[in-house]
């Protein structure tokens, strides 16, 4: 085991304790490789929470690695249908944090494009695959599938082999009027 690995493991433990103390009313778990998972109680908490995690010296999560989701159709993770997952990384501490929000299919999640411009395409992908709406997103279009595609293929009720071929492709459209968060501040 290398020294660096031990150091990061220590930081993960510290981060976990810090999160447990700072957010006593939230569920804080650890996954199989001991990375912390923080469950948010409602979508409204997301942006204030992320801004706090980004600002505070103890956490300093300044990079958004990924946004994804999964279909909680068997209700292993509670009664709500979809789980949105945010994977954060701290370039300062070299630690990672996973945020999870459970939502129903008719609920929407606030966009993170106000914090990170990188969230734009990631949220478009989650919208494309799961139909999750991000409130306030500047350009919420499909990104992987064709724009004429009907349905959201990673939902479990979408039939696996239901292909929707089109005989032509749509021209590329670049979104207009989008400003990155840095420019607009």
């Amino acid at each position: 085991m290398s020294v660096a690995f031990g150091v990061i493991r220590d930081r993960q433990d510290q981060l976990f304790l810090h999160l447990e103390q700072t957010y006593p009313s939230h569920r804080v778990l650890r996954d199989k490789i001991e990375e912390p998972i923080l469950w948010l109680r409602s979508p409204d908490e997301l942006v204030p929470m992320i801004e706090a995690l980004r600002r505070e010296p103890a956490t300093q999560f300044d990079r958004l690695s990924d946004i994804t989701a999964y279909d909680n159709i068997d209700h292993v993770d509670g009664p709500k249908r979809l789980i949105v997952v945010y994977q954060l990384y701290s370039l300062q501490h070299h630690t990672r944090l996973r945020l999870k929000i459970a939502i129903d299919q008719d609920e929407s999640v606030p966009t993170l494009t106000v914090v990170w411009g990188a969230a734009n395409w990631l949220e478009r992908e989650v919208f494309d695959m799961f139909g999750i709406r991000f409130a306030g997103h500047p350009d919420l279009r499909r990104i992987l599938m064709d724009e004429r595609f009907v349905g959201h293929p990673l939902l479990k009720e979408y039939e696996l082999e239901a292909r929707q071929p089109f005989s032509d492709s749509l021209p590329v459209r670049i979104a207009t009027g989008f400003e990155s968060p840095e420019e607009s501040h």
Partner: protein
């Protein structure tokens, strides 16, 4: 031209000469979309050196290519693009489907992947494998040269139904007539004794 510089003529039929020229200058347009593309690059580069067979001039413009080499997974979103490239190529043109993905969709029987490029264009040669080894691709080019030289007709691939694919005996029945020479086809399901002599 003789070795000593004297001029000489080789009498030949024009169509034979044209076919000979076509066969030995199959310029490929590579359409590598995933892992098979890596194997294709390996075939084109020094170790396997596809230029030994007259296919060295890789053309990234479909107007200058004779052979469309589709190497990789073709998604339904990519298929109009591929079809347009095929339409832009000038006659005569040939198509090789390299690998399981471009032949039949391969392991990706999903919402986003085209189940074989023969759904959108005629295909001359299917190269099996995931990915095919470079020798397999070279063999397919040699087969294609044979097709070009002899002017062989393009055969329709028989796509198996689920029931046919489930049973190896039925598989033999289904593709027996089209794949093997007539007369040798042991299409009757009478046991493994007949399986010898199946090699091409």
């Amino acid at each position: 031209m003789g070795k000593d510089g004297s001029a000489s003529y080789i009498p030949t039929r024009l169509d034979y000469a044209v076919k000979w020229a076509q066969k030995n200058s199959l310029w490929p347009m590579p359409f590598g979309t995933s892992c098979c593309g890596i194997e294709l690059m390996s075939t084109l580069s020094g170790t396997y050196d596809l230029s030994r067979f007259g296919s060295e001039v890789v053309r990234f413009s479909p107007r200058q290519a004779d052979l469309l080499l589709v190497a990789g997974t073709i998604t339904t979103k990519m298929s109009p693009v591929l079809r347009q490239i095929y339409d832009q190529m000038l006659e005569p043109k040939w198509v090789i489907a390299m690998g399981a993905c471009s032949s039949s969709g391969g392991i990706f029987n999903t919402y986003s992947v085209l189940q074989g490029i023969d759904e959108i264009m005629p295909v001359d040669i299917y190269v099996p494998g995931c990915p095919p080894i470079p020798e397999g691709l070279i063999y397919s080019i040699l087969r294609l040269q044979e097709i070009v030289e002899k002017g062989l007709p393009r055969k329709q691939m028989h796509k198996l139904t689920r029931e046919e694919a489930r049973n190896a005996m039925n598989f033999r029945q289904a593709i027996g007539e089209s794949l093997f020479e007539s007369g040798e086809t042991g299409a009757t399901p009478s046991g493994p004794a007949e399986i010898k002599g199946e090699t091409r």
